[in-house]
Each structure stands twice: as structure tokens, then as C-alpha cells.
Symmetry: C2
Subunit: 336 residues, 2 copies
């Protein structure tokens, strides 16, 4: 398989990798998110993974950057790429339940509420405007923006956003067995709220049932003057769909082949409906001799913290697939 | 008078203007700081001025960006320069009592405590390390860093740091009449705490009696790979003195002629002792026909939010003194 399918034609001299960290209280509902050792601890995962990427290890808490099955967090992939490319990532705090341990560009938002019971992102409009101002700043200091996200539970909010905007979407999951029934139950309740509340405008739908990452990412993409690559799976499709709903240009999306190949989702189909060009990265984790990375191939984790887009960035910067794979393996072995 | 005295030899293609916002609880002691309509409200001034620079106006609270005497905040000078140069500033939250209204790169610090009674910056070491990581990130995205600060009450903490590090300093003030006696009283108490607590290492002295801006600015300057200009008055001399005390290179400092000419301070002398090269900007505010700006010449405000360094940056980017002055006048008239 080719390392990259559908590569964008982008030259860059000043690339920047950013990741938006946020929480939705949906992630503490048991069974919704696999991004943490317990539902309550999913709220901490973005903070710990940012610390891993920024510092090379997690020292603030006694946690390991693996799933219980030994699958390395996608943040370790992003860390490996930052080291390989000599880049310092920028983290954006879009609304977290706990205080980050590394500096973040903070929007001073709040975690998303549970969209079954109340408006999930009351400040959606303000967050979009803050995203716009961040996009202008980032455009001052870079010519290519690879924009990732880390929102445990975010595939469920993205399901609601995509459906709410009229797309017949099935979203992916960090679990091998996608908890489709639970997500559909959430959507069933949210659909009624959307209908009865008369939410129509795209940002109103985000207010009703999204998470804080979505309006911030859309605001950044709306004003960033260079090339933007939304780095993520179905969650970034909800950002692209929001932009399209607002009659704004739809950016490039980059993700892993593991998201594309998820039989419980329909990523490529929805991307086609939105009109997002997509780049898929196939890092060939099955042939590296690492049992944890090989689990990505059977559908565990799949993506996160912009790992797919980060690998694409390394490739755009001229690193060979072998160099990229070896660096990831080296980084992941460092935690063993 | 020349617009710039002692200009650095710097060429820049990717300049970045940053300002570190922080509080010290010293500013709520009546009479210490003139940076706000009341002692309690000095805690809000950095947030309001950041909003003014980022948004062009203050809409979050019914406050005017002037002193009670009609002297425009130095933030309006910085705003004018950002517009003139087409730059988006980056604000760093070094530890504020209230939540900012615009996005900030947040170090997740706390306001400095009153150094008369307890350690002012218990996290000084951690903030220095966070500054180091921010400096590396900023070096990824720029080649010249103009680093300002906004810490109401910060001339008093800087007095303590400079004296604690062995410099016979007299510091400046935003008041026309520098409250020298009050500052000396603070120093008298702090001196005893320093002596009795056995504080020796430079970062320990900051922990005892500094404010959060000082270790963050020093950490940034320690790792930033391009040219750094510390934009500020005596407060930036305390950062330079800390760096020198840690055997790290001493950066360039830029400030206004109003700080140099403050007869209650000895800025140039202390800069010479530290070994900081200094650039002084004389914007000639007395000849612009604006009574509020003219008050800078009689010693009110003098400097703040990196205004001196911002004017130097515009000049380094090729803007003429007349263009710079006219832009400032235009911006200040916009609030009238």
C-alpha cells in the first residue's frame, strides 16, 4: 500500500502543528469512550497526552500512555513526528475539565455539556469568533497549519453534528467494537431536542449538541490565510461540515487508513458528500513487529491527537515512509 | 531628539510581539500602583488592555482605556503599532486573578503573593521551565521576539529582585510622583525575609519576592534561538538581572525615554551594571497636540505593555517616526 493516498499539493517553509484539547461530559457516560482507564478519567486523557507530546513522558500522574490492551496512544505517534521534524507543537485549550500541565493557548471555554439534557456549547458563537482570532495569529507565524484534536467522546458529538447538518453519517470509534447502539441512543434524544428547539443555523446546531473543539477549529480554518489540513477522523468531518454549512471554504482533511477502513463508519462517503478532499496515511503498523501498534490494524484507537495529519506532515517535509515508521517504533519502544 | 537611541542591529523577516500578563497582590495595596481606577481594579488592567490591543476596544466591561487624568494607556500605543505593522500579538497568561477575555498562551500559574508575608512565587522554578518550553515554540515560528509585560505593581517586585540580586536600584513608576517610600517599606520587610530565609540562588530570590512574569520571561529568553528584545522599563531589567545571575546571556532591552529620564529611578545605571544593551525610543509625544499623550513627557505612565519595544519594532520594520507617531495619534483619537 502507498504510504499516502490523495496527497495535497502543498509546499511549506513554516509548518505549524496544533492540537485542540477539549472535553465533552458525554465521555464520562460508561461505554461511550475508550480513551482512558475509566469513564471519569477520559476527562484527563487530552492533558496527559499533551504532556507526553510536549515533554516526552508523563510525570504529573502515575499513568501509562497505553490502552489497557497495550496499544500505544496516538499521542506517541505525534510525539515521534514532532521529534523527527524538529517541530514544537502548540496546544489549544478549547474547554477542559482539569488544568493542563503544559502551556496551552487557552480560549477560556468550558467542557461541553451532555447534549441529551441541555445545550452542549452555549458559547458556540463566541468560540467561533475566538477561533477566528487565533487563525489570524497563526497565519502571522506559519504557512501551513496541521490542526488536530483530542476530545474523548467526540465521535458521538460529531455524529450529532453531522446528522444535525443533514449528513447520513456513521461515525468511527477508538474501540474495536464501536458502541453504535449507545451513540444512536444519544442521537435519538438529540434529534428530538434539535427538532423541538427549532435549531436551524449551523452554529446553533453546534450549540445544541456539539463540543467546544468544533466551533474553534472552524473559526481557525475560516481565517487562516495559508493551507489548512484538518488532522483527524470523523470529528474533523464535523468541522468541515460546519464550515460548508456556513458557506465557507471546506479544508483538506488527513487521517489514517484505519479510520477509512472502519466498517462501522462511512468516513469516505461522508467526506465526499461534504466535498472535503481527504489524504489517507497508511503507516503499515502491522509489519513493524510491535503488537500494540499492530492493534491499530484490527481497528483499535485508529487515530487521535492529529496522528494521521502529523505523519502526512512529515512526509510533505520530505521524510521517507521508512524513516517515519522507524521513528515511531523507536519512540513507542522508549515507553516499554 | 533622535527617535531611537542605541538601536540594535537586527534584521527580521518573521517578527513576533508577545506580552506576558500577570498580577502581584502587591498592586491591591493602596498607593503602590497607579494602573487602574482603584487598587482592587489594578488586577483587571492587564486583561482589559489585552482586549484593547486584540479587539481595538474594550467591550467586556464599562471601562475607559485612560488614566483618570486622560492619559491614554500604553496599550493604545501597542495597538496602533500592531495595526501599522500588520501583526497579531500573542498574550501569555503568567498568572492572573481574573479570566482573560481574549485567548492567551496560558502557563496555568497563579498571581504573585504579597512578598512581605510569604513566598511570592512558589512555582518560580516550574514557571522558568514553562518559559523555556514557550521560548522553543516561539523560536519555531519567528526570528525576532519583542517580549513585553503587563504586571501592575511590578516595579515594586522588580525593586526587590534587583536589590535581592545585589543591584543598587531605584525603580520607576507609572505615577508622576513615584511612591518611593512605600516601595522602600516593602523592600525593608523583604530584605529581612531574604536574609532570614537564606535565599541565595537567583530563582529562589524570585520565589521569595518576585512576580510570575519574571521567571517566565527569563525562561523564554533562555531558549529562544533568534533575537530577543525585552520590551519594558525597570521590570525588564529584573528579568535581565535574573538571567545574568543564572549565567545566561543578557538580552537587549528597549524602553521609552520617559523611563530613562525618570529622576526617581536610575534605569541606565542599573542596565549598565547588568550589562544589558538598551534602546531608548523618544516618540516626541509633547509635540503631537494631544494633552493626554503629552502627560507622558511629565512622567505619567511612561511605558507598559511593551509600548517602547513595539515602537522600536515598527522602526526596525522600516516605518518612519512620523508614520509611527501619526498612527498612534490616530488610534488614540479613535477612543475620544
Amino acid at each position: 500500500m502507498a504510504f499516502v493516498t490523495g496527497s495535497p499539493e502543498i509546499r511549506t517553509e513554516r509548518p505549524l502543528f496544533c492540537s485542540i484539547l477539549a472535553n465533552t461530559l458525554l465521555s464520562v457516560v460508561p461505554g461511550i469512550s475508550g480513551a482512558g482507564p475509566s469513564p471519569e478519567k477520559t476527562l484527563l486523557t487530552p492533558i496527559l497526552d499533551a504532556e507526553l507530546i510536549a515533554c516526552g513522558k508523563i510525570s504529573s500522574m502515575p499513568m501509562r500512555p497505553d490502552t489497557p490492551t497495550g496499544c500505544p496512544t496516538p499521542a506517541s505517534i505525534t510525539r515521534a513526528i514532532m521529534e523527527l521534524c524538529g517541530l514544537s507543537p502548540l496546544f489549544i485549550n478549547g474547554g477542559l475539565a482539569h488544568t493542563p500541565t503544559v502551556p496551552c493557548l487557552d480560549t477560556y471555554g468550558s467542557p461541553g455539556e451532555d447534549p441529551r439534557f441541555r445545550d452542549a456549547v452555549p458559547a458556540a458563537g463566541a468560540l467561533f469568533r475566538k477561533g477566528r482570532s487565533i487563525g489570524m495569529f497563526l497565519g502571522n507565524v506559519s504557512d501551513l497549519l496541521v490542526l488536530g484534536e483530542w476530545v474523548p467522546g467526540g465521535t458521538t458529538t460529531s455524529l450529532c453534528i453531522l446528522r444535525g447538518l443533514g449528513y447520513d453519517a456513521l461515525v468511527s470509534s477508538s474501540y474495536v467494537r464501536n458502541p453504535v447502539r449507545m451513540k444512536e441512543e444519544v442521537w435519538g434524544i438529540v434529534e428530538r431536542r434539535l427538532r423541538e428547539g427549532g435549531y436551524r443555523a449551523p452554529l446553533d446546531i453546534v450549540r445544541c449538541c456539539g463540543d467546544p473543539m468544533i466551533p474553534i477549529a472552524a473559526g481557525i480554518a475560516a481565517t487562516y490565510p495559508g493551507s489548512v489540513i484538518l488532522a483527524g477522523g470523523t470529528q474533523m468531518l464535523s468541522v468541515a461540515a460546519l464550515l460548508k454549512g456556513m458557506n465557507l471554504p471546506v479544508p483538506f482533511v488527513a487521517t489514517t487508513c484505519y479510520v477509512r477502513d472502519d466498517p462501522s463508519a462511512n468516513f469516505a462517503e461522508v467526506a465526499g458528500m461534504i466535498g472535503s478532499p481527504v489524504s489517507y496515511v497508511d503507516p503499515g503498523f502491522g509489519e513493524l513487529g510491535h503488537s500494540g501498534l499492530a492493534r491499530y490494524c484490527i481497528g483499535e484507537v485508529k487515530e487521535g491527537m492529529g496522528a494521521g495529519g502529523a505523519m502526512l506532515l512529515a512526509w510533505l517535509m520530505g521524510h521517507s515512509p521508512d524513516t517515519i515508521r522507524n521513528r515511531i517504533l523507536h519512540t513507542v519502544h522508549g515507553y516499554a
